[in-house]
């Protein structure tokens, strides 16, 4: 078994230049991912979780600017020459997307789309590439692989399409998989299959996985560690057990409580009032302040930094102890 690699992200920021001024979609995000571990990036729409993922491997489109450090295998992916970055992309770090229908090229056979990946990253010849493609389809559970390679994406069902995308991503044995809401477009029984597939592949290939999702159930079922994002920043991170047992940030706590629990049917849910702020109009101080029931003047004056409160446990909240203590009220 080859040794895995770790990804280290330091102070990653992504800014988009718009006609109305710069908008910071990701603001000083730091985290690492270890081999064989699933890190969940959790947040709602506009929290910057997807942009973070795309920033890691240079998939941000021109008006966007990425700063910070993304260390992989001893090099900073944000400053390596394009040729080197291309070898990492798809070769060592692979990415899968939310909508397999739009992420697969509709006019090319899936076989070609697997093969072009192998061609870019391996020295296999034509026949070997085809054999490998069949092997990959078997691996991700697509029956009748030989025939299916000749098919076009629209000839697959949603779940099968997602498997095709995973097969393409895995083609060159990546050591890190970036998954952007890979099951959001799928039905629950299919989502379950795909998540289990990703987990078993993780074990088999000793890959690290970064899983971007908004679904806390998915997080609970698959992630080892999580980082919760709000308005472009990580507000809380730690092991999945610690965070589900005792959220320390008011946002995390609200998020967990707003999911209906068995045993409290037809009672009011604990909702977070208001809506997430527009990135162009962030409030001063804590971005969650205006929606937070714990907020006071201090929260409005200064923006709390992400601080270590235990081994591998960080939170960016001035009142994290109060939040932790108040937990009992709603459990």
């Amino acid at each position: 078994m080859k040794a895995g690699l770790s990804l280290e992200v330091k102070n990653l920021s992504t800014t988009f230049e718009t006609p109305l001024g710069a908008v910071t979609a990701v603001d000083g995000v730091s985290f690492d991912v270890h081999p064989g571990e699933v890190l969940g990036l959790v947040g709602e729409s506009g929290s910057g979780k997807s942009v973070t993922l795309r920033s890691l491997i240079g998939l941000i489109h021109p008006p966007g600017k990425v700063t910070g450090q993304v260390t992989w295998n001893g090099q900073d992916l944000l400053s390596v020459p394009p040729g080197r970055l291309r070898r990492v992309r798809g070769g060592e770090i692979a990415m899968i997307f939310q909508e397999p229908m739009t992420a697969l090229n509709p006019v090319l056979t899936v076989g070609l789309q697997v093969e072009e990946n192998l061609r870019a990253h391996t020295a296999l010849d034509r026949g070997q590439r085809r054999a490998r493609a069949i092997e990959l389809f078997d691996l991700v559970g697509i029956p009748d692989a030989k025939r299916r390679l000749e098919n076009y994406p629209h000839q697959f069902s949603g779940g099968m399409r997602q498997r095709v995308m995973i097969a393409i991503a895995l083609a060159s044995n990546p050591k890190l998989l970036l998954a952007d809401e890979p099951t959001t477009a799928l039905d629950v029984t299919i989502q379950d299959q795909i998540l289990k597939l990703i987990l078993s592949l993780r074990d088999e290939l000793q890959m690290g996985v970064v899983l971007v999702t908004h679904d806390l159930g998915v997080v609970a079922g698959t992630c080892d560690r999580i980082a919760v994002m709000y308005a472009g920043r990580i507000v809380e991170s730690g092991s999945v057990l610690e965070i589900f047992d005792g959220p320390r940030h008011a946002y995390t706590r609200g998020l967990l409580a707003s999911v209906p629990q068995a045993g409290a049917e037809r009672g009011p849910l604990l909702a977070i009032e208001g809506t997430p702020p527009a990135l162009s109009a962030l409030p001063t101080g804590c971005a969650f302040g205006p929606r937070c029931s714990f907020a006071n003047d201090a929260c409005r004056a200064t923006r709390p930094e992400l601080a270590e409160i235990g081994p591998g446990r960080q939170v960016a909240c001035l009142h994290h102890e109060t939040v932790a203590a108040s937990k009992g009220q709603f459990a």
Partner: protein, 283 residues
Amino acid sequence: MTFALSLRGQRRKTRARRIPVSLIVGGAMLAIQLLLAVFPSVFAPYAPDSFDYNALMQPPSLAHLFGTDNFGRDVLSRVIHAYSVDMQIAFFATVLPFLFGTSIGAVIGYTGGLAETIFGRLVDAIITFPFLVLVIAIVAVLGPGLNNMYIAVGVVDWVFYARLAVAEVKVQKRLDYAEAGRAMGYSPARIVFRHLMPNIITPLIVYWMTDMALAILLGSSLGYLGLGAQPPIAEWGVQIADAKNFMGTAWWMSVFPGVAIVVAGLSFSLTGDGVAEKMRTRR
């Protein structure tokens, strides 16, 4: 995707008040040309058809800013008077197709079914006729002249508006707000004309702008071929046809009407682009 959503908030504030540059420029150019078209004699220094045999084919001078033609007519005055004719062509050739095509298309798109199938076949058949060829053929049969040209254009042109309206309505009627109207028990007429129409009209107006530019091209082409406006009427195409034997010797005779056509066409396109942009930022 996620990012686009988060930008929604900020677009909200600045959107309504910003008018695209293209709309301002195009609109202003159109306004000036409309003035020329409505009051040509106010702006033209000479009558469009007064011959001056003492000043044949004079190059541009202070007396004749755009020079004179082979009958000694003032080119500037003829170009200005041609605005009445060509702007009229732009408007009259297209306004009925626009109104009729849009309404009938909206109704067909909403009704769907057999009406749509029949209409689809009609469109397939009509687009196989080269538009210009068909118009020329119809004008040939009806006889040259502006009115026959309007008829020839109108017979075919409404189909393009209707086709666009059908396509737009088919998209819009599936959206939940239209379904909500139906679920509310609103009448089909209310849904088509009050709910859907405001949401489909933008691309149709944009197309109308393009179509007016095309009508000017068509009108001047027919004028050039002798099938549209008839000499001695001042019309750009007719003017260029008159000038075609003097292209090398008296460039001013053809260049100024040509520039007028281009400017007119550009202002319609610019306005169309502006409308499109304005409406895009609104959504």
